[in-house]
C-alpha cells in the first residue's frame, strides 16, 4: 500500500487518537457521548477503508457493526439513560484536566517510541496502526482511571475497545471469527453494563461509583 491510500488510513487512525484526546476534557456527559459517537464513526470509516484496501469484504461487517451499534445505538441508549437519571446537566469533577492531557501526550509518545522499533519488519500500515491503536487503548485506560462516574467509565472502556478493533483490523488477514466475536462480546458487555447501571441507579440514586466505596467500611 502506497501513496494516497496509505495517507488515508494513517489519517483515519490519527483521527481516533485526536478524538480520544477530545474525550479527556469533556466534563459533561452529553458532549462526552457525542465524542464517543464520533470516535466509533471514525473507527467504522477506518475499518471500511481497511476493507477496501486489503480487499477483505468481511471487514465491511465489522465496519457496519461499529457504525450501527457503537456510533448510533449505544450513544443513544446511554444518552437516554443519562437524561432519565437527571445527570445530563451535572458537571463532573475531573482531576486536573491539564495534567491529564499532558499524561495522555506522554502515553502517545511512549506507545510510538515503543511500538515503531519493535514492528520495524512489518509493513508500514500495520506499524502505524498498531502504534496509534496502542495510544487509543492507553488513553481509554487513562479516561477510566480519572473518572468516577459509571457512565464515563463505560465511555472510557468503549474507546479502549475501539482502539483494540483498530489494531485487529489493521493486522492484515486477522480471522473473521475473532472480529465477530469481539463485536459480539461488546454487545454482551453492554447488556451487562446496562443491567448493572440500572441497578446501581436503583440502589444508590447515583451513578457516581465513588459513593459505592462507603459500603465497604468495616467489611475488611
Amino acid at each position: 500500500m502506497t501513496g494516497i491510500s496509505f495517507d488515508i488510513s494513517h489519517m483515519l487512525a490519527g483521527f481516533l487518537v485526536l478524538l480520544s484526546f477530545l474525550m479527556l476534557y469533556q466534563v459533561r456527559l452529553p458532549p462526552l457521548l457525542n465524542v464517543l459517537a464520533a470516535h466509533a464513526f471514525a473507527l467504522s470509516l477506518s475499518v471500511a477503508w481497511q476493507a477496501h484496501t486489503q480487499d477483505a469484504p468481511h471487514l465491511y461487517i465489522t465496519a457496519a457493526i461499529a457504525l450501527l451499534f457503537k456510533a448510533i445505538l449505544v450513544p443513544w441508549v446511554l444518552r437516554r439513560m443519562v437524561v432519565r437519571m437527571g445527570i445530563h446537566r451535572e458537571i463532573e469533577n475531573v482531576v486536573g484536566i491539564g495534567l491529564t492531557m499532558l499524561a495522555a501526550m506522554a502515553l502517545v509518545a511512549l506507545s510510538l517510541e515503543f511500538m515503531l522499533p519493535l514492528t520495524a519488519k512489518a509493513d508500514p500500515v500495520v506499524r502505524e496502526d498498531i502504534a496509534l491503536a496502542l495510544s487509543v487503548v492507553l488513553i481509554g485506560l487513562l479516561l477510566m482511571v480519572t473518572r468516577r462516574n459509571a457512565v464515563s467509565q463505560v465511555v472510557g472502556f468503549m474507546s479502549l475497545e475501539n482502539g483494540i478493533n483498530l489494531a485487529a483490523t489493521g493486522a492484515r488477514g486477522m480471522p473473521l471469527v475473532v472480529e465477530i466475536s469481539v463485536a459480539f462480546s461488546v454487545l454482551i458487555a453492554f447488556i451487562v453494563i446496562g443491567v448493572f447501571l440500572f441497578r446501581i441507579r436503583e440502589r444508590f440514586d447515583s451513578v457516581d461509583v465513588g459513593t459505592l466505596h462507603m459500603f465497604r467500611g468495616g467489611r475488611q
Binding site: 519488519k121 496502542l134 467509565q153 493486522a171 488477514g173 458487555a189 448493572f196 459505592l212 466505596h213 467489611r219
Partner: protein, 479 residues
Amino acid sequence: MTLDPLLGILLIPLGAAALLATIPNQRLSAALNIAASLAALVCAATLPLSRPPPHTFLMVDDFNIVFILLNTFVAFTTSIYSASYIAHEVETGRVTSRHLRFYHAMFQLMMFGMNLALAANNIGLMWVAVELATLTTVMMVGLYRTPEALEAAWKYFILGSVGIALALFGTILVYLAARPVVGEGLDAMVWTTLVSHAPTLDPSLLNIAFVFLLLGYGTKVGLAPLHAWLPDAHAEGPTPISAVLSGLLLNVALYALLRFKILMAASPGAISPGPLLIAMGLVSLIFAAFMLYRRRDIKRLFAYSSIEHMGIIVFAFGMGGPLDNLAGLLQMSMHSLTKSAIFFIVGHIAQVKGTQRMADMGGLTTSHPFLGWMLVAGVAAIAGLPPFGVFASEFLLATTTFARAPWLAIVFVLGVLLAFGGLLLRLTDIAFGEVKGPIPPVRASYLPAIAHLALVLAAGIWLPPPLIAWFQHVAAILG
C-alpha cells in the same frame, strides 16, 4: 466422530444452560444441574482413553487434559454442594425462584466457557471463552443484589474487562508475529501451528505481546497490583461461586498465560518470562500474606489466601525448570481442590452463624464438631502442613529454589510462613475458644468437601506413577 467426548464437555453444559433457564422448580433444576455436571465429568473421564487428534478449534494435549478433568470434577462436586446451599438460601428468602433459574443457567454457561477455554486450539477462541466465563461470573457475583454485591460485581466487571481487553491486544500482537511466517488467516492463530513455528516468529513482537498478556490474564489470575476485584468478588457472591472462582477460574486464566509461556520458551530469541513471573509472584505472595492478618470477613480471608497461592504458583513457573514447573502444576491442582473444599465448609459455617464476620464465630469444634474439624483440616491443608498435598509441592519448590537462588528462596519461605501464621491465628479464634453466635443444627452435604480433602490427603501421601509421569512430561514442555 472422533471429537465426541470433547464436544460432550462443551455441548452438555451449553444445552443444560438453555434448559435450566426455563425450569422454575428449584429442586428439579438443582438435580438437573448435578446430572449435567456428572455427564460432563463422564465425558471428560473418557478423554485419556481415546484422545481425539487436534482440530482447528479444539484439541486435547498432555497439558490441558488434567485441567479439563479437574474442571469437570470440581464442577460436579460444586453442583452437589450448591444444591444444599441454595436450598438453605431459598428457605431464608435471600434468593427468589427467578434468580435461581438465572443462577443455574449461568452456572452451566460458566462451565461451558471454562471448558472451552481449556480445550481451545485457537488463541482467539481461548480469549472469547475466558471473556465468556468472566461475564457469567460477574452476573453471579451480583446475584444477591445487596449494595456490597453490586459494588463487588461492578469492580470485578470493570477490572476484568480492562484485563481482558489488554489480553486481546496481546493476542493480536501474537498474530502479527505469526503472520509473516504462517501466512494470513486462521492458521496464524491455531495454537499447534504457532508452537511448531515458534523458533521463526519475530521475538521482539512476542516479547511485547507477552507483557500485554501477562497484564491482561494476570488481572484475572489476581496477581498483586491487579488483584483489587478478587476479595470483593469472593466475599459478596454466593459461596458455590466463590469456590468455583478460586478453584477453577483463576486456574483457567493462569492456564491461558502458561500457553503463551510455552510459546515464549520455544522461541530462542524472545526474553525469558521468568523474571517477570518471579517478581509478580513474590509480590503477590508477600502482600497477600500480610493482608491475611487484618481480615474480619471469613470469605475475604480465604480470598487473600487464594492470591497468596496464585503468587506461589506463578513464582514456581517463573523459576522454571522441570522440578519447579512440576511443583507449580502440583500446587495448581492441590490449591484448586483444597480451596474449593474450604469454601464449601465456610459456606455452611456462614449459613449456620448467619454472618461472615469472624468475630461473631467461635468454638466451632465445640458447637459443630464435624464442621469445625473439617475447617481445621482444610486450613491445615491450605497452610501447607504435612501430610497434605500442598505441603509436598511447597516443600519441593522451597528445596529446589534454595539450591538455585537462595535469596529468592528466603523471600519465598518468609512469605509462606507469614501466611501460615495469619491463617493459624484466625483459625484458633474460629475453631477453638468459647462458643459464640447461634448454634442451630447444621443441615449440610459434607460429601464434596470430604472428597476433595481426601484426594488432597491421598496426593500428599502417594501419587500414582502415571500421574507423576504426566506431571514430569508437562513440566518439561513448560520449559
